[in-house]
Amino acid sequence: MQFTFTEEQEEFRRYLRRFLDAKSPAVEVRRLMETEDGYDPAVWRQLCTDLGLPAVQIPETYGGQGFGFVELGIALEEMGRALLCAPYFASAVLASNAILNAGTEEQKRELLPPLAAGEVVATLALAEESGRWDSAGIAMTATRTGSGYTLDGVKSFVLDGHTAGLIVVAARRAGTVGDAGLSLFTVDAEAPGLNRRLLRSADATRKLARLEFSGVPAGLLGKEGAAAAPLAKTLDQAAVCLASEMVGGAEHLRESALEYVQMRMQFGRPIASFQAIKHKSAELLLDVELAKSAAYYAAQAADDDADDLPAVASLAKACAADAYTRTAIEAVQMHGGIGFTWDNDTHLWFKRAKSSEVFLGTPAYHRELMMQRWNG
């Protein structure tokens, strides 16, 4: 994306939008968010087989389509817009990239094709009860046994962790701190000693789980003690992807608020004719477009594996989070009283905005990261 999308990319977006309009209307979102699994297996299958979406950014060698973060970003922007309930972010973004960044060639050939085909849903278990999104927050220990490793500890805020079949887990050798001694492991969801529990989340469309590990057998992903760099890269890429998803959600809210104020009559005219509403609408457009530009730029930086990726990934995440929460607050405001009801759909996106704001790190955290990474 050199500041503009190609015709093929635009066509991909249009096609996906039609699909999601049909498969993920708000009424369906409401139905699925009340279920424990949180998604519709039939729609997930279609998403995988008809559209090949989990394969988008996985290289062809590993059964993927070989596109990049720009295309993945388009997919996420549209999913964020439609508030699609599916374990896509967990599997196609977090787990796939963790494996791509950390796995050996052999592991990639083995693990990625089922993910690309959507036959296996995977996730990444990083954060623990402290809610930190960096290596310093990892306390889970990995112990070498005769044939492999066992994991002990608790992971929390694990996206779709209760339904994923494969879990990529960050853990450390006992006694190490920070980036040292850090490794990534793969764990089968059915492994003995693993206890999974769905957490009740404010944003019911984003399913989070708590995973307790006690002596759970695990396979080492990549090299022992060398996970810090691949993990950091995965988190940067995930921040970029989440920015795209948030931009799509923010755009949806902005448009729905605009539609409402055009229709809502007060004092004998549509409230959209009042400057107070017009100026707010113009400001929201600016917010969302700026966040969009940052997300698009960051997606290209991820594709190029650019030197400034760490800085712009954090920039894009913070920018999109602020734009999304602000749009969410203003969208409720513009809907007036009805915006605060359960019946009105605005709250679904409002809650997604709040969960996205903190998922993978708050805006303040990312701004600080950005400052540490800024070099120009």
Partner: protein, 418 residues
């Protein structure tokens, strides 16, 4: 004659330049040569000093001139807007009299649009031109007039019919600034600079042939000028860069540019000097303050996102695509960046933010940022006007109800003081 191609234009202009470019000529001599050849304004009509080339082919000629460092026609100031307006609306006499001297830089122009009583509402002009004894007599006051103090001519928007509706009672004139009855006074801004003037008219005379287009058609003509201003203002300034090469042409051009760009010299400060933020934060130690770091990060985020949004708009334009929403947002984004920059500079400066001039940081540059930034959200259409434009044109929200467009202008309530 065959259609010009990139190759033929490159070759032909290159041949001509190689035969004619001479840095030891006087600036006016050189530009007259250039104007005679048509290479100075290659996109202008053949009949009026140009070659009728497309914009892309015009850029080929520009590249050829840049390649050998040849000085081009005069590009700075309002003269380009005058030329564009005259090319569209002027008579042959106007074109004959003004266009060549605009290109050679012998005449400077100013734009007499804004008034103390009407800011963004340009069509509310109350400077009057009355036809008496076979000439127009002008009375009134203009303001925010850049370069009026060294202009020979002005583009004047004046009211000629008070009984017609607002937009239909205006006419557009070319006025000689150096005549009796025109008084140019500098207008000092809160940052101490005087980039603009006030211009007072007391029975100033205009001969009837210096009306542009027809009586009552002034708003349409002004729209032409404004359109060119919006489209070209940045590129005009971008081109005006003095080279430091030796040679009479270069020296005279540098002097011309220095005069023309004088009003704009505080513009970087006006835009907030985001480039200095990290440097200053490190120098003052504020870089290590977590609260200040957050504010710096917010500013950098906003400023880079605005830059990328502008590039998206340009990329879309280059692709010939429809104008997206990102195109209308630039002015508003720039204003937000500038304001936030001023705030962050204050955080970084601490007590030093109270100092000015050489006592202030960086020999007063930071102090100047702090008192120049408020101009951005006002100049060229206030933020509020930008938001109206965005909401009405991009978001298709209902237009502001207006009570001034119908009926005689004399009955429209308006300012009596600025």
């Amino acid at each position: 004659m065959s259609e010009p191609t990139e190759g033929s234009v490159r070759q032909e202009s290159r041949n001509w330049l190689e035969a004619n470019w001479d840095p030891d000529l006087s600036l006016v001599e050189w530009r007259n040569r250039l104007v005679d050849s048509g290479w100075g304004a290659p996109t202008w009509p053949v009949a009026w000093h140009g070659r009728g080339l497309s914009d892309p082919l015009g850029r080929v000629v520009e590249a050829e001139m840049d390649r050998i460092g040849a000085v081009g026609v005069a590009r700075t100031g309002i003269r380009n807007l005058a030329a564009a307006t005259i090319l569209v609306h002027g008579t042959d006499m106007h074109k004959e009299k003004f266009l060549r001297r605009i290109l050679t830089g012998e005449d400077t122009w100013c734009q007499l649009f804004s008034e103390p009583g009407c800011g963004s509402d340009l069509a509310g002009a109350t400077t009057r031109a009355d036809f008496r004894g076979n000439k127009w007599i002008v009375n009134g006051q203009k303001v925010w007039t850049t370069s009026a103090h060294h202009a020979q001519y002005g583009l004047l928007l004046a009211r000629t019919d008070w009984d017609a509706p607002k937009h239909q009672g205006l006419s557009f004139f070319i006025i000689d600034i150096e005549q009796p009855g025109v008084d140019v006074q500098p207008l000092r801004q809160m940052n101490g600079h005087a980039s603009f003037n006030q211009v007072f008219f007391t029975d100033a005379e205009i001969a009837p042939e210096f009306i542009l287009s027809e009586t009552g058609n002034g708003w349409a003509v002004a729209t032409t000028t404004l359109m060119h201003e919006r489209r070209g203002a940045d590129s005009l300034r971008r081109y005006a860069k003095a080279s430091n090469r030796p040679g009479r042409v270069y020296e005279e051009e540098a002097a011309e540019i220095a005069i023309q760009l004088e009003p704009y010299k505080w513009y970087p400060q006006r835009a907030g000097r985001v480039d200095l933020v990290i440097e200053r934060a490190k120098a003052t130690g504020a870089f290590d303050d977590p609260a200040v770091r957050q504010e710096i990060a917010k500013l950098l985020t906003l400023s880079r996102a605005a830059e990328w949004t502008a590039r998206r708009a340009r990329a879309m334009q280059d692709r010939g695509g429809p104008q997206g929403p990102e195109g209308s947002l630039g002015k508003l984004a720039a204003s937000n960046v500038a304001r936030m920059a001023a705030r962050v500079h204050t955080l970084i400066a601490g007590a030093d933010a109270m100092l000015a001039g050489p006592d202030g940081a960086l020999d007063g540059v930071i102090a100047e940022v702090l008192v120049s930034v408020p101009a951005v959200s006002i100049a060229g259409g206030t933020d509020e006007i930008q938001k109206n434009i965005i909401s009405e044109r991009v978001l298709k929200m209902p237009k502001e109800p207006r009570s001034d467009t119908k009926g005689p202008f004399r009955d429209v309530p308006r300012n009596t003081v600025g």
